[in-house]
Amino acid sequence: MIRSATLLLTAVLLTALGAGPLAAQGDGYAFDEREPGTPLEAMIAAKLPSLVKVHGASGLRTIVPYATGVIVSTEGHILTLDLVMVQAGQTRVVLADGSVHMAELLPPDTRLGVRLLKIDPREVHIPLLPLELADTVPENGTFVFSIGNAFRLAEFSEKLSVTFGVVSATASTGLRYQLSDLDYDGQLILTDAANNPGHYGGGLFTLDGRLVGLNARIVESTETNTLVNAAIPAADLRDYVARWTGTGPVVVTPEDESAVPAVQGYHGIVLFDQGGRRSPPAYVERVRRRSPADALGLRPDDLIVRVGQQTIRSCKEFEEAMAGLAPGAQVELTYKRGDDVLRGTLVLTEPPR
């Protein structure tokens, strides 16, 4: 209260005096350049000019037409999320000095859901300060700050928003996007540094200034049914960026690893699934004779609780986990028999004739 009242009074006084910092510079619109005091302040100040505002196609009310991007080359490459609003001919980039640049779109990485933009470096009149993508994922409990244009609070040369938090975890499964046009199956950094529309595509930094993540859209966890702030690990983005900026070896990402095999591997487990709206836990009803499950020693009434690292809570989840596994695939199965938790390897075979 006291603080805001003071600021208000100050503003009133400044107006009354008719002179002040706002009118001090030629373009009539400048921002204070306080010297950073703490190491964190200095680090933020150093990173801010490397992030840009991205404006794109608008139209539908559900489309947020703004985001953030990270400068990744002196040639004008800018990394951002491959959002709906990123459209050819409509995507503009606003640099730290307030200058606007039309961006050319490079092909996206559809798996990671990111895209490089390219602006013409000859039209840029400030140094382009590219950031390097860190090659490691931060440990849980690493303090981080996140920079982005949340809710388009910053316009022109106004500075982006910075939020602070800690890396909560890095998780690979059980996450979904609310508006799911980004099919992401890799790991995500979960953090409690606030992420919001507009902040997407911004950078997640450790206190020593390493760019460890690119702010993703807010995701919902299927484990918790709650929203979580997420970032795509920078380490996962290095190959894509290197490929298109020509700064590293070209690595071609395999296009579609999860293609359904011609023949589905056979396990021989029949689950007790009487149907119904909620799929029941994966209790074994029957084990087919001379099947891989038989070889493993699986028995009726065993409860399958895990396939590999994935928890299996229902028959449906078991079927999904097994789908796409070809004959010969080895699956680590964890199952409960009575009060014992057992483990074994299931080696899938060709289906019997």
């Binding site: 603080r3 409990g141 800690v166 409690d192 918790t224 049914n225 836990p281 938790v341």
Partner: protein, 457 residues
């Protein structure tokens, strides 16, 4: 003439208006210094922080109205009253004739001829609005308590659909006793799987619960488990760092973490510490630790609104850690499988009563208070030897007690001398809990269960 530089008044104002620099901010390296502290605290508790997964389960998640969460079609609250003659008989059996007489007069109905007693069907003439109130008050007819599954209500608030995801637990004792959140057991699962940080998995057996703290105890057949240090709640200070750990996301060596501070101590009458670190299903059941890795409590969904809820607050800066170090003998009772509830006396308090003492405004039917003969108008003078200063004080004195606890109270009737009695507190009836929540009264924490008089609303 040279005008004053613009910044002079501003600087003066800033100096006058702002307090001296905050001590915590005077060290520009504080965050950098906190980093290794956080890490080592996490490492200290990580071996005691386990992953809890559940399978199967029959309990439906109910809404506030008691309907299955996916079966609610619209607002039920203002639905027309539907009742049967049987319901009327039931109500007639519970209602006091004097009260009925008063209601009769209030409704402006003609007095019954002398000698002619009231009958059950006379109740209809009071009108639906009054009938509804009566059914509700006496918890019968259409407002009869719903049968509870296993005696426990749903934890989750309406609007939040609980996922059966992994949650977290903390080792309480080395021979396999694990503390979890009641939230984890909400589905009444058929199988509970506890996975230790070293990768070993065990099936867990359910033991008792403390519903007032939102925690439950499970047992696995393991030995030599590492037990963390549980910090006595009296040593917790508002403003100290609080780190909330969880095992929902992944099985790496370090648990997940959310960082905040202790917002308040002694919440829910000493049962919880309030923190501003994010708590959510991602860390329910997990330890909330201090900078030395000592456990302040177990992250649980709780709320002072009595719905045992709080999941909807997960991003609000309000979280709770149920305290463990002050459980005392409750641990043994939980090991024995007891379901512990907060205590309930069953009295309403007068809103205009400023003390000293606390005047009883009404007495709930079938309550411990009625059992020992407390009546409206009685003034409670002492509780366990402590003089009651006012009704709020009474609530605090009663609040820490659990159902089954004996409470010695002295009460005065009229101008008489105070009389001492011992009353055994009961558990708050579910209907009472729901009712007081619905009423939205603010006079007292509704989860304490003692309702204010009708006039106090």
């Amino acid at each position: 003439m040279i005008p004053n530089p613009w910044w002079v008044p501003a600087a003066l104002l800033v100096c006058a208006g702002l307090p001296a620099q905050h001590p915590a901010l005077s060290d520009p390296l504080e965050l950098l210094r906190l980093q290794p502290v956080l890490r080592s605290a996490m490492r200290a508790v990580a071996p005691s922080t386990v992953r809890v997964e559940t399978f199967g389960g029959t309990r439906q998640i109910l809404t506030e109205e008691g309907q299955p969460a996916d079966a609610v079609s619209g607002p039920q609250r203002d639905a027309p009253l539907r009742y049967t003659p049987k319901h009327l008989e039931e109500l007639f059996g519970k209602i006091d004739p004097d009260e009925l007489g008063q209601l009769w007069r209030d409704a402006g109905l003609e007095p019954k001829p002398a000698g002619e007693p009231f009958e059950a069907r006379d109740l209809q003439r009071l009108g639906d609005a009054r009938l509804k109130q009566l059914f509700r008050k006496y918890r019968c007819g259409p407002f009869a308590p719903r049968p509870e599954r296993g005696g426990l209500g749903a934890l989750t608030p309406p609007g939040f659909l609980q996922a059966q995801g992994a949650t977290t637990g903390v080792v309480l004792e080395p021979d396999g006793w694990i503390l979890v959140s009641r939230f984890a057991l909400n589905f009444d699962p058929t199988t509970i799987l506890v996975t230790l940080p070293d990768g070993r998995s065990f099936t867990a057996r359910r033991a008792g619960e403390d519903t007032s703290r939102g925690i439950a105890l499970v047992k696995i057949d393991a030995t030599d488990l590492p037990v963390p240090t549980f910090l006595d709640p009296t040593e917790v200070r508002v403003g100290e760092w609080a780190f909330a750990l969880g095992r929902t996301f992944g099985g790496g060596p370090l648990p997940s973490v959310h960082v905040g501070i202790v917002s308040a101590t002694d919440r829910l009458f000493g049962r919880a510490v309030q923190i501003d670190a994010n708590t959510s299903p991602a860390n329910y059941g997990g330890p909330v630790i201090d900078v030395r890795g000592r456990v302040l409590g177990i992250a649980v969904p709780l709320s002072p609104q009595g719905r045992d809820a709080g999941v909807d607050w997960y991003d609000s800066g309000i979280g709770f850690a149920a305290t463990v170090a002050n459980l005392g003998e409750l641990v043994d009772r939980m090991k024995a499988g007891e379901i512990l509830h907060r205590g309930w006396l069953g009295i309403g308090l007068a809103a205009d009563d400023l003390g000293p003492g606390a005047r009883v405004a009404n007495v709930a039917p079938e309550s411990p208070a009625r059992g020992v003969g407390l009546r409206p108008g009685d003034e409670i003078v002492t509780i366990d030897g402590t003089e009651v200063r006012n009704p709020f004080h009474l609530q605090v004195l009663l609040g820490a007690h659990m159902a089954g606890d004996p409470v010695h109270l002295r009460h005065r009737r009229g101008d008489g001398e105070p009389v001492g009695i011992t009353v055994f507190l009961a558990e708050v009836p579910r209907a009472e809990r729901e009712e007081s929540t619905r009423a939205g009264e603010t006079f007292q924490p509704p989860w304490e269960g003692d309702r204010p008089p009708e006039g106090g609303r």
